[in-house]
Structure formats: structure tokens, C-alpha cells
Amino acid sequence: MPVKKNTLRLNMLAMFIAIILLQTSIPLIGYIPIGPLEITIIPMTVVVATVLLGTVDGAIIGGIWGLTTFVRAFVWPTSPLAAIVFVNPIISVIPRIMIGVVAGVTYTYLKKHFKSQTASISVAAVLGSLTNTVLVLGLIYLFYKAKAPQLYQINIKELLPYLLGVVGTNGIPEAIFSGIVTPMIGVPVKKIFDRTGR
């Protein structure tokens, strides 16, 4: 139904925010624990939102996830890692925003040059997911290389290899699965979405 674009956009964003809030609270649809690690499927949501709504809105949804991560790091951390790392708003928010940006730019580019939507979404998802991992890693390194973090007077420098290891081992399978599963979600959902835009 051709309702006004701004109303529809407002509500689409609201629904995705609601979904992110659900995913950060319910493990089954947000995190898949594997041993001591966990693979999060929220980047897939951010990528799907980006594919539907565009780069800017994807970045907004990513940012909202980041803010949720930041607040929860204080109130209700999902893992010890979160309690240490994500209390820094730059580490919790910026990489999440960048998922939307990178996935958006990639998807927009690929969509123009390649026919296969599945492939476009897949590549956008892999790059989006990797962006998250690389940026979180990079920022941890940047922030904790030199000085101890304010909150916990710990000498994180010693912890650094461990942190990088955890994030890295999470990040690789996360990217692979993002690439496989995101198109399986994104293609049918995009179909429905395009129909509402008419």
C-alpha cells in the first residue's frame, strides 16, 4: 500500500529495533552458544535490514544494536568478555554501525553488477560480519595496548592475546555462517518487503 514513505520507514525501523531487542534477550534467536564461545546471529538481522531499507537505515539498526550492547555490558552482560570490552561505547557501537555501512555499500554495488541476489546478499553478509569482528579486534588492540582501561584497572595488555583469540575464533565461523544463512533469510523477506513498497 502506498502509504507515505516516511511513515512506513519509521515503522520498519521500529520493528527492526524491536527484533534486535528480542534477539539480544532471547538466546535461541540471537546467540548460539558453542562451548565457552557464542556465535551471534544479530549481524544477519542488521544485514537483512540494510538490504531492505538501505545503507543509512542499516547503519541506524546496527547502531541501536551497539547501544543495546553498551547498556547491557553494565546492566546485564552476556559474557565476561562483554563486561570488559563493551563498556567502552566506541568498541560496542562503532563496529555495529559499520556492519550496516559496509554491507549496504557492498550490496548496492553488487546488485548493480550481478544478477544473483543470493550472491549479493551473501557477500554483503560476509563482509558485514567480518567488519564487526575486525573493528572490535582493532579497537580492543588500540585501546588496551597502551594503558589499562579506566573501569577495571586491569593490565589488559596481558589479556590481549586471549581477547583477540576469542574474538577471532568467534569471528571466522560467524562470517562463514552469515554468508550461508543470511541469503536464505534475506531473499524471501525482500520479496515480501518489495511488495509492501508498491
Binding site: V3, L10, F16, L28, Q150, Y152, Q153, I185, V189
Partner: protein, 265 residues
Amino acid sequence: MSNFLFGRYLPGSSWVHQMSPQSKLMLSFYFVVVIFFANNIWTYAALSGLILLVVLMSGVSIGYFLKGIRPLIWLIVFTVLLQILFSSGGHVYWHFGPFSISDTSLINGGFMFIRCLLIIMISTVLTLTTTPLAIADGVQTVLRPLKKVHFPVDTLALMLSIALRFVPTLMDEMETILNAQRSRGVDFGSGSLRHRISAAVPLLVPLFTGAINHAENLSTAMEARGFTDSEHRSKYRVYRWQRKDTISWAVFLLIGILVLFIRKS
């Protein structure tokens, strides 16, 4: 399943309940910042005293708080252990590779424990005494000055309020979808990693398409009720600044200054 962060609000009419959400929000933030400056027994004592006062004024039983902290206890223990094992300096009792235990690290570990507790306590008071909606309104009020630079504060607030309103709806739908796919033979939460991640597809596709339908129908309904844009609307729900807010701010500021004076420089 519905008993997570949204089920935490406890209705009541205590002093803390009656404060405006924007000042509760700002004071919680301020309190966390002040915690960063605490570094000796006296500063922690002052802050602990303050939080005790807040808990008393919230009318919520202490037992309820402790219950809330229980699931986080391992996390706190882990963080404290990290603190103990990795902080350096002082008289070293034991060390192995990168790990060491010293008198300083033990004291730091203790402070760490109190610090975690304080942060959890203040945020718990906030969520127990303030509805998610009021928190969203509080955010809107706090961000209001940004309107001057054309930041769409009201749009953001409306978006947030609609999102919060739809969380229970989507959660119900998700539960139904989960049950429907279980009935079709999906085993959630077991099997290989690949299997477990693929299991997200029959959950998320219906969840997303449902959400898109909600967004579309809601847009139609909103426009039928005269909605055009979010920046030109009057506001039904207004939280007024009260004397309780002024008094609370005064107390918090006082303790803040006190902490700055008695901290180890």
C-alpha cells in the same frame, strides 16, 4: 520467556517511582561516572551508603535485588578473579606466567566486587521503578536540546515507543512460530553447529515477514488517524520536574563532591 528485561518493572508509588524518568536516567549515568572516581574504602563506603538510601526510597525489598543479582554472580566472580590475577604492583604473594596475586590485587579485587555491585544496583533500581516507556520518554527529554541542530528527537522517541510496544507482540509470535516449527520436526538447540544456525531460518523468515506486515498495517492505521510526521505533534504524556527530583539531585551532587574530596589522590 516473557520474564526478561521488560518484565522487570514493579509498579509502585515510592519516592523513586515518582521521580521524573529523565532525572532518574541522568542520575544513574552520573552515579556510574562518580563510581569511576572512587578509589579507597571511604569513597566506596559513601557510594554504598547512597545506593542503600536509594534502595530504601524505592520501596523494593532488598531480597528482590539479591535475587536479580544471583544469575550474574559468576560473571562478577570471573571479573573479580581477572582483576586479582592481572593487576600488578604491591607485595606479590604468588605468580605464574602472566598471573600474579598481590596485596594490591586483592584489595583491587574487593573494590572491583563492590563496583560491579553498585553499577548493577543503580541500574536495577532504574528498571524496577521506571517503565520502558518512561525510559524512552526520559531519553527524549534528555536529548531535547539536540532539536536545535535538527536532530529528529521526536521521531526517534516515537520509533522507540513503537518498538517497545511491539516487543511483546513479536515475542508472542516468535513463540508460536517456534512451536509450529517444532511440530514440524525442527530440533532447536541441538545438533551440529551448522544445523543449529540453519534452524534460525524457519524462525527468522516468518518473524521478519510478520514484522513487515505489522509495519505496513500500522502505517496505514497511523495515517488514517491523521499522522503525517513526528516533529509536529502535541504531547499527551509529559513528565514534570518535581521537588523530589531537585532534592535527589542535591543529595547526589553532594555525595559526588564528597567522593572527590576523600578519594586518594
